[in-house]
């Protein structure tokens, strides 16, 4: 995906500018605004599509189920790893 080229290019430029804190801060602000714009555009593409608007409730439900799965799975494996490799219990005494 060519989007990753932009990510890689940014990482390289960011590394070169790593001591220019004010430039990096400005980049962070710009990143936030472009994110707001992107989320707005995502909303716009949803809002202009009646079928998707009607499905919003279901999408939220699906999101919650997948989120619960991700959290539960990651904490269970983390528990296993902390026992095996970090000699830590899963329960606090």
């Amino acid at each position: 995906m060519h989007v990753l080229l932009f990510l890689a290019a940014g990482t390289f430029v960011g590394y070169l500018l790593r001591s220019r804190k004010n430039v990096l801060a400005a980049a962070r602000t710009a990143a936030m605004w472009s994110l707001y714009l992107l989320i707005f555009l995502l909303g716009l593409s949803v809002g202009t599509n009646d079928a998707v608007v009607r499905a919003l409730g279901r999408l939220g439900m699906q999101a919650l189920i997948l989120s619960a799965g991700g959290i539960l799975g990651s904490v269970l494996v983390a528990c296993l790893v902390s026992r095996t490799f970090f000699r830590l219990g899963c329960h606090e005494e």
């Binding site: 990143a31 909303g43 989120s67 990651s74 219990g89 606090e92």
Partner: protein
């Protein structure tokens, strides 16, 4: 937390503007998303590249510490794979892509929307927001019942910034480094894994 409310407001504003047809038809055909996404990825890249912690993690190579993000990834995929059975509308691969955000809802949602379509993008946004939200609220409980690494794994990519304060409060400041490393690794891997899974 405040930021995620702003994001949610932007999404709702976009949906309303869309429903009310306030913008000229064909505006989205100009594909403003493509330009904004490229800009965002570049800017996020400068953040990653300019962050001294990232290069520290890359240099240190403490193999054991990397087990934490690894277990977060493995666990997320296992959990999402199992729970995707209860989400008939979303395919297996699509579910994994949603999970690959690891709470990094901003980049994950726009990237997933771009490659996998807007409905999946909305699911990715809400699911990853919920993950951050649940970690912010549930960190002490997770630490109590699943051990000290649990809130870090649950926080995912956000364990380096937004959820770091609640994590250190519930598992101790001595786990701050692990938490940051976990967040850095997952933040870097999230966009890579999403594109790899959905392409």
């Amino acid at each position: 937390m405040k930021n995620s409310l702003v994001i949610l407001a932007c999404l709702i504003a976009g949906i309303l503007v869309g429903i009310l047809a306030l913008l000229p038809r064909g505006f989205l055909d100009l594909d403003p998303t493509a330009y904004a996404l490229n800009a965002l990825l570049f800017l996020v890249g400068t953040e990653i590249g300019g962050d001294a912690r990232v290069w520290e993690v890359a240099r240190k190579q403490n193999a054991r510490i990397l087990l934490v993000p690894l277990s977060a990834i493995l666990g997320t995929y296992l959990g999402v794979a199992v729970f995707s059975v209860f989400v008939p509308g979303v395919g297996f691969r699509e579910s994994l892509a949603v999970g690959s955000g690891f709470g990094y809802y901003s980049l994950a949602s726009v990237l997933v929307a771009r490659i996998g379509g807007k409905t999946l993008g909305v699911i990715a946004l809400l699911a990853n927001m919920a993950r951050e939200f649940a970690t912010l609220i549930g960190a002490p409980l997770l630490a109590r019942y699943f051990g000290r690494l649990a809130p870090i794994a649950s926080g995912g990519a956000t364990s380096m910034d937004t959820t770091l304060p609640v994590i250190t409060r519930s598992v101790g400041a001595d786990y701050a480094v692990i938490s940051v490393v976990n967040g850095v690794v997952l933040t870097v891997l999230a966009p890579l894994l999403i594109t790899a899974i959905l392409r």
